[in-house]
């Protein structure tokens, strides 16, 4: 197998996340009043990204025009990327509907491709087109020429690219016009000219274009990476507004996070919970804890107390529990004493959490003062525990 990068092509994620628009002419309008994405049916009528919405309406009066939701679309991209990340260590998902997997080193690339197809089909509701080539550029072009649900595997990349038009290069209109004036209308012609010559005409973009046309793939993938801070995240589809369901999800996330912390031998000094809402800005709460939290019960104790009072502005589509600040917790082997009074450390941690949330006056220790005083308040002092 010559190619090691697989590209899956689905509609723009703004369209993919709206399954009700599948099969109908639809136009997604960006914030600037221009077309951000258009369905295949609208494209057939001549609608192209970049046109004004008025032009799009004139070209395709039957098209449904919807507003873009960048937050929801990014969330979908994150979800797809997270699923693909389970298949290959290097993946990239773009909002325009292109997703790449670097299959280098995978023992069963065929199985990864099949799983990626299922993942993309589930995300978009339509069969993805798949391309396999030596690099991301050629793989994307192969995918664009594949039939839905099929994989187009390119062995000889230069030969495959040679007849394709220069419009496939990521160049602006002025640069494309310049190539046209130079008589360079196919990638083969651009490849024959060479990168240095084209760089002198178009600058750095020309050099990259020439290398791409030769199949040398100068632009590597920008790999998606999971959260850098230890955290656990769950996408909720459909959105959830039931508190018990949120608590159930949070309990699972705290369990996952506690396992991760246990592997690192760390405890959380800071805990943050983020709730993504449907069509609403993200809400978050965070707290610095005096006593590092390491067990699932400790984490869930804090998180659940927030969730029980939380009134999200909209049904929740994503729950994230993060611990941005860690501390070594090697000495805290609380589980050794569970069930006995050795859990005193956990009790102290619980009291400190109460003080963190409701003030130090909420938990008090008793000290003897004037034992013989007739006034009750003078006989003992209550000081913050």
């Amino acid at each position: 197998m010559a190619g090691r990068v697989c590209c899956g092509l689905i509609p723009h994620l703004e369209l993919a996340r709206r399954p009700e628009l599948t099969g109908a002419p639809a136009v997604v309008g960006g914030g600037d009043g221009r077309v951000l994405a258009a369905s295949a049916e609208a494209m057939t009528a001549g609608v192209r990204p970049g046109l004004t919405l008025r032009q799009a309406e004139a070209l395709c009066p039957a098209a449904a025009i919807v507003d873009a939701d960048p937050v929801a679309t990014s969330r979908l991209a994150e979800r797809v990327a997270a699923q693909l990340y389970d298949l290959a260590p290097e993946v990239e998902v773009r909002l325009d509907g292109r997703a790449w997997l670097d299959l280098t080193g995978l023992p069963l690339p065929g199985r990864a491709i099949a799983a990626a197809r299922r993942c993309l089909r589930a995300a978009a509701g339509v069969e993805p087109r798949l391309g396999l080539a030596a690099g991301p550029f050629a793989a994307a072009l192969a995918a664009a020429r594949a039939r839905p649900g099929r994989l187009l595997q390119v062995e000889d990349v230069p030969a495959f690219l040679s007849p394709l038009p220069v419009a496939e290069l990521d160049l602006d209109a002025e640069q494309l016009e310049r190539l046209d004036l130079l008589g360079l209308r196919t990638l083969g012609a651009v490849a024959a000219l060479g990168p240095r010559q084209l760089e002198s005409q178009l600058g750095k973009a020309g050099r990259i274009a020439a290398l791409l046309a030769r199949g040398e793939e100068p632009l590597p993938l920008t790999p998606w990476r999971p959260l850098l801070v230890p955290g656990a995240r769950c996408q909720l589809e459909p959105p959830v507004d039931d508190r018990e369901a949120l608590l159930f999800v949070a309990r699972g996330l705290c369990g996952d996070l506690a396992g991760e912390l246990g592997d690192k031998g760390a405890g959380a000094r800071k805990v943050r919970v983020r709730l993504g809402g449907e069509g609403a800005p993200e809400e978050s709460r965070e707290s610095v804890v005096r006593h590092p939290l390491s067990s699932a019960a400790e984490l869930f104790g804090l998180v659940s107390s927030w969730l029980r009072e939380w009134r999200p502005a909209a049904p929740v589509t994503e729950v994230t529990v993060e611990v941005p600040e860690l501390e070594a917790a090697g000495r805290r082997q609380l589980r050794l004493w569970m069930g006995g009074d050795g859990s005193a450390e956990e009790v102290r941690a619980a009291l400190e959490r109460l003080q963190d949330r409701h003030g130090v006056e909420v938990a008090l220790a008793v000290r003897r003062a004037l034992g013989t005083s007739p006034l009750a308040g003078q006989r003992h002092l209550l000081v913050p525990a």
Binding site: S305, V347, L351, V362, R379
Partner: protein
């Protein structure tokens, strides 16, 4: 086939809610008592002490002596547990002086003063979940906190004793052991009020037979320190005098 379906359903419950959610009756752990050191309380519980991992309730009318009895239990608990906690929202109700007079270890005692009932519930659940040995709750807890409190105590084995006026249906439902104090009268000593004379009755018991009762004299602490166990003094109940009128049926006075 129905057996397979049942096993499948049990497996699903275990996966979703954990192994504690559904346990075969034969595998349920036996009740674990914590002897309070107060013979009357231990005897009425039917298992030899307050049940660990359960919510117990001490209820009664105003002045019946329920707070005094609870503080006697607390004094014992501070000596036997690393952490004893009092949750007291109304700030003047709990005075550490009384358990101190009964020999409590104040170093093991923490007073939690939550600003609202909801925080009181949160604190009770958090401390029970963390495994506080003994928690004395002097306030009514909000109903939504009672379920989590029961399960948290069951997992950690904490002893939770709630002092209540009586009549709270949700609390009565959550309780595994409910002891009720009824004021009989006041005990004088050398011309002064020594304390209430009350009947302690077991009105609910999930772990043994309810219905037992004892008569106690709860002397207010004065003078030298007194061990908590000797402080609520159980008195021998005077048998009812049977009056036999003539002619007619007998009646008890």
């Amino acid at each position: 086939m129905p057996r397979e379906k049942l096993q499948h359903a049990i497996g699903a419950i275990h996966v979703r809610f954990g192994g504690h959610a559904l346990v075969h009756a034969a595998r349920l752990p036996a009740a674990r008592p914590w002897p309070t050191g107060l013979p009357a309380v231990d005897r009425l519980s039917g298992i030899g002490g307050l049940p660990r991992g359960r919510v117990s309730v001490l209820q009664g009318a105003l002045g019946a002596g329920k707070l005094s009895l609870a503080l006697a239990v607390l004094a014992t608990a501070t000596r036997e547990h690393a952490h004893a906690v009092v949750i007291d929202r109304r700030r003047r109700r709990f005075d550490p002086w009384i358990p101190d007079r009964m020999g409590a270890d104040l170093g093991a005692l923490t007073v939690v003063r939550p600003p609202t009932p909801a925080v009181a519930g949160e604190a009770a659940v958090a401390l029970a979940r963390a495994g506080a040995g003994f928690a004395l709750v002097l306030e009514e807890l909000p109903e939504p906190a009672l379920g989590p409190l029961e399960s948290a105590a069951a997992r950690s084995g904490s002893i939770v004793l709630v002092v209540a006026g009586g009549g709270e249906r949700a609390l009565a439902h959550a309780s595994s052991l409910t002891l009720e104090l009824e004021l009989l009268g006041w005990e004088p000593a050398r011309g002064r009020l020594a304390g209430p004379r009350s009947v302690l009755r077991c009105v609910k018991n999930k772990l043994a037979a309810p219905g037992a009762e004892a008569e106690l004299v709860l002397r207010y602490p004065r003078g030298p320190r007194l061990p908590a166990a000797e402080w609520p003094r159980e008195v021998e109940r005077t048998p009812a005098v049977v009056v036999e009128p003539w002619p007619g049926a007998s009646a008890a006075v």
